[in-house]
Amino acid sequence: MSVLLDTPASAPNLSRTPSLKTWVWPLIVLVVAFGLVPAFGTSYLFEGILLPFLALSLAGVGLNLLTGYAGQVSLGSAAFMAVGAFACFNFNLRVDGLPLFGSIILAGLTAAAVGLVFGLPSLRLRGFYLAVSTLAAQFFVQWALTKFSWFSNESASGVIDAPALTLFGFTFEGAVGRYYFALTIVTLLTFLAYRLVVSEVGRNFIAVRDNETAARIIGIPVLRTKLFAFAISSFIIGVAGVLWAFAYLRTVEPAGFNLDRSFQILFLIIIGGLATIRGAFYGAALIVVFPLILSRLGALVFGDLFDSGVLDMAQRIVLGALIILFLILEPDGLAALFARIREKIRGGFLRS
């Protein structure tokens, strides 16, 4: 088990300094996301698709740093989302005069600290054993948040309500406002994650993933690198939890951050592509949109037979089958698939 995960064929070319061209597409996407989408989007598009998409994408980016780049499999992502959400709620509630921005950063740091604690086993454990031990985070956090009502300010069954979203004196209101709020944070953190991945730390992550012993020999501090991967990944996932709770759902309880959510985030990076930043976005888009498509399609084909119970089960089956299919047919995920399609199209143009 020296190689934990397949080395993606599409591993970013790290030696190359990012040229202007690298930024063209992300910039176009950003211009569209900030400028065009709010002009045309309906409130359903924001509430039902874009907000969960943004929160899940960010969680995917965070998990991808840990699992895709540093090679440490975690099944406890939802726990770190929960820590982020509840920490932000409490900082905002209990510390007077702390702006929301400060609460979010502190929430991320809290999630990072918790991630660090649950990352400690990674110093001795690998592979499955580590994956199982991250499950401990999942159960412990959920239990603690439900059990001690202090975390939710003594509300019944641990439900928390989101405060007004005010950043730098500007309040984000309504679906579009919350969309801007989430988009701003996701953009910032994704940029940070990208810078991290192409930096020395990112290369250390990959070295540790591909061959721990070799990494140690060339002088990479393996233990520190692993712990840092847990911390930074949990930070980002924690902030994603804040977005999930505050921007998307507005009221949330600990049960919302259950094991299924953790799996969902793991699935989305497998589908999107491990060890790519954009993969998290592709994967999240698929995970958010496919149940909607499935329900429309099911209703169209089966009519009334396709009720919500059947839909639920059909979703599970299709999602599970998708995971298996991707692992078999496209282990590098949608990112690799799209890259190949792009190459094909380009090749076609050149020939004609």
């Binding site: 690998r126 592979g127 239990w143 059990k147 070799a214 979703q315 692992l327």
Partner: protein, 298 residues
Amino acid sequence: MTGFDWLFFTEVLVGGLLSGVMYSLVAIGFVLIYKTSGVLNFAQGAMLLFAALTFVSLTERGINFPLAFVITFAIMVALGIAIERAVLRPLVNKPPITLFMATLGLSYVLEGAAQLVWGTQVHGLDLGIEDLPFDIGGVFISQFDIFAAAVALGLVVALSLFFRYTRIGLGFRAVADDQFAALAVGLKLNWIWASVWAAAGLVALVAGLLWGARSGVQFSLSLIVLKALPVLVLGGFDSILGAIVGGLLVGATEKLAEVYIGEYFGGGIESWFAYAVALVFLLIRPAGLFGQKLVERV
């Protein structure tokens, strides 16, 4: 402080050990597959649900107990072969963690399929054994627990005999020992894998029936997998003996902790306590109690 109530302690301990047997039963299914194919099969819980749900639905349609058992077993065998064909064979030689993720997907498919076909309502399952406590020297023990323990013991003995004295069993052991050598002497790896998944299906069926009789046949059966994982971590992924001892250990400590220290935490600690025990243990002995010591190489 009043004297320590030993009788009560024993009762809790025995109750814990017996529920630990049920964990062991689930864990054995994992071990079978891990030993021969190096896959940590997360779908074991889903297989358990699938088997129990199929069985109950068959009996509810008026099929008698032995026939329903045989039919369900046949379905589990078919399932094992299908899984080998559709999932394992295309993923051969992939890193173990990829296979693990594939079984995650598989568990979603199985859970969905079982409930899509048989519905999501809770089914009662009566195995004809009453859950009456009886008295041994002042300690009350549930009759059903004893029965479950006996079945588990029988299953383990049967499996050991099977591994030791049959040709297929010998094949299993050969594959577990060294896959390439097994291939070299002409063992058909595909068949071995299919049959080991079928065997795990049988274990899932038995465990599913016992758990189902206990708590009703419903979706939560699938979550037993989460109880079995710390057992595996404790016992080592590749040891049947480890699965049994680990199960007993987890069952006993969990119950004792819940009774004696649970109140300091406000109760409900059984959701994570087993994991805490397993983690602490792992830090001391990373290969588990009986697991093979893995020398990590480059």
